[in-house]
């Protein structure tokens, strides 16, 4: 016990705070990615393997728009629209035919799509990573670090997008449609809600949100065709830990896991810190498989 306390006290407070901030920033992006994923699963039982690729393509679109116009907000909006459209097309062509069949087929199909999208990106954009300029430069001093303002902007924007999305779900007519369809798609149809259209809309929305996450994240790293792979894995973990279909749960889980990983990075190499999320998943599946943080939608 003593050793543990001594151990914890040895961690410099400033490092702790820095890692907390980092954890929250990554957590917010992860939350944005995961909310699209959990929404799609909750409403139509589709595990969208291609979500990471939508994130990646969103980042590419963002880079292109940013480089062409220098306008970050335009990049966000165009990326959202383009990828949402792509999502709608994917859903109509490949997922609609599978409605009514074993949901495991959707994993296979979305896996196939992820391969196609990834290789398309590699072929079309080439293997060299692209850089996306940061919309706001400048740092502030956080203890001994020059901490970029942009990172805080990411967190704020992600929170704003998620907040906006939540408001949409709660108060708009289509939000009610989505929530009704998620709860009982048969009765939703019987009440006149055009459920196939809602499915397409939700998939497109989820795709668009993944795209925006990609744009937000892009200035932090290089944009290349593999950037989606790690995110899709983390996003799945978040969705399962948060409770599949639970928006609130995913958000909490995203921040929770990101914080844990961030703290773990104090001691281990970041590429190994990812094991933390794996462990959390295993523990969740062992003890509370419906999700640690599941809340009703």
């Amino acid at each position: 016990m003593h050793a543990l306390v001594a151990f914890l006290q040895d961690i410099p407070v400033d490092l702790l705070i820095i890692q907390t901030v980092n954890g929250v920033v990554t957590g917010m992006i992860l939350a944005l990615v995961a909310s699209g994923l959990t929404l799609i699963f909750g409403i139509m039982d589709v595990v969208n393997f291609a979500h990471g690729e939508l994130f990646m393509l969103g980042a590419y679109v963002g880079v292109i728009v940013m480089v062409a116009t220098g306008n970050f907000w335009l990049a966000l909006i165009v990326s959202f629209l383009v990828i949402a459209l792509l999502g709608a097309v994917i859903q109509i062509v490949t997922l609609r035919p599978l409605i009514g069949r074993d949901p495991l087929n959707t994993i296979l199909v979305t896996f196939g799509i992820s391969l196609i999208l990834q290789n398309f990106a590699l072929w079309y954009f080439g293997p060299i990573a692209r850089r996306m300029p940061s919309p706001i430069t400048g740092h502030f001093i956080l203890f001994y670090l020059d901490y970029p303002w942009y990172r805080l902007l990411i967190a704020a924007l992600s929170a704003a997008i998620i907040g906006g999305f939540w408001l949409f779900l709660k108060f708009s007519k289509y939000g009610v449609w989505i929530r009704a369809t998620t709860q009982d798609r048969v009765m939703a149809q019987a009440m006149g809600i055009p459920v196939p259209l809602v499915f397409t809309g939700v998939f497109a929305l989820g795709a668009g949100m993944a795209a925006m996450s990609g744009v937000l994240f892009a200035p932090l790293v290089g944009v290349d065709h593999t950037m989606g792979l790690d995110w899709v894995l983390k996003a799945f973990i978040v969705v399962v830990v948060g409770g599949m279909g639970s928006l609130g749960g995913s958000i909490v889980a995203a921040i929770f896991i990101s914080l844990l990983e961030s703290y773990a990075a104090i001691w281990v190499d970041p590429s190994q810190a990812v094991i933390v999320s794996f462990v959390v998943l295993i523990l969740t599946l062992l003890f509370k498989p419906t999700g640690l943080f599941a809340t009703p939608k």
Binding site: K173, V176, W177, R179, A180, Q183, D184, V186, M187, A188, Q189, A190, M191, G192, I193, P194, V195, P196, P296, K297
Partner: protein
């Protein structure tokens, strides 16, 4: 709320309907019809296919053979959400209201249709809350927090929001207290006065006989008997034959 029929053709006509569930043959050639503004009762023991008949009319179950006609037009393959807009409303057994949506949101689902003015929407809401004051009191409560009887009221109100020509009503009194059963009777009568047709599936024989104009009795997936409701009473031999224990 529907106009007087322009022809003598029935509102809903079901002819020779067959459905399967896996290998089980559920509906074995069901034929019945409901005229505009009529209340028609569908009786029968558990498991004979009454609910399945309603679901097939609503497009929720696929028919492998036979026809369903709405005002003379074949509606096979028309998706349920379109049928809801064409005048068929469905109130399932166990109500199935949206538990996590509020009462108002449940109603809005049916209310927010194209071509309905805001004034009309308010009229409909007022009407429903006049019928069911308790719903009005609880309008911002989540559906799942309502009692069984209140949920039934909500389920019927939700259907009324669609301004339907016919309501498919599946065992509305199941699990309700006698006082609520009376209220259901009153609602059916009120709807009938407004010209809404009802296809009523029920286990409660007296209620059905009292509120319907005609009766069908089903057994093992097929209609065995049909007549005017006035020809039957609880002790009738036919009732005993098909419904007696």
């Amino acid at each position: 709320m529907s106009e007087a029929p322009t022809s003598t053709q029935p509102l809903i006509s079901v002819e020779g309907l067959h459905t399967y569930y896996g290998k089980s043959h559920i509906l074995d050639g069901v034929t019945l019809h409901v005229g505009a503004g009529e209340v028609v009762g569908l009786l029968g023991r558990n498991g004979v296919g009454k609910s399945t008949t309603l679901k097939t009319i609503m497009g929720l179950v696929h028919a492998s053979a036979g026809k369903v006609l709405l005002e003379g037009k074949d509606i096979a393959g028309v998706p349920s959400h379109k049928l809801a807009h064409r005048g068929i409303a469905y109130v399932p057994e166990d109500r199935r209201i949206f538990r996590l949506l509020t009462v108002m949101e449940n109603l809005r689902v049916g209310l927010d249709r194209d071509g309905v003015s805001d004034a009309r929407k308010n009229e409909l809401l007022d009407k429903v809350f006049a019928f069911f004051p308790r719903l009005g009191e609880r309008r911002h409560q989540a559906g799942g927090t309502l009692s069984g009887g209140e949920q039934q009221m909500l389920a019927i109100s939700r259907a009324m929001m669609l301004e339907p020509k016919i309501i498919l009503l599946d065992e509305p009194t199941e699990g309700l207290m006698p006082s609520m059963v009376t209220q259901i009777r009153e609602i059916i009568d009120a709807l009938h006065r407004e010209g809404v047709a009802i296809l009523l599936v029920e286990q409660n024989v007296p209620l059905t006989l009292a509120s319907s104009q005609r009766i069908y009795i089903m057994e093992k997936g097929i209609v065995r008997h049909q007549c005017a409701a006035s020809e039957l009473d609880v002790n009738h031999a036919v009732i005993k034959q098909y419904l007696g224990v």
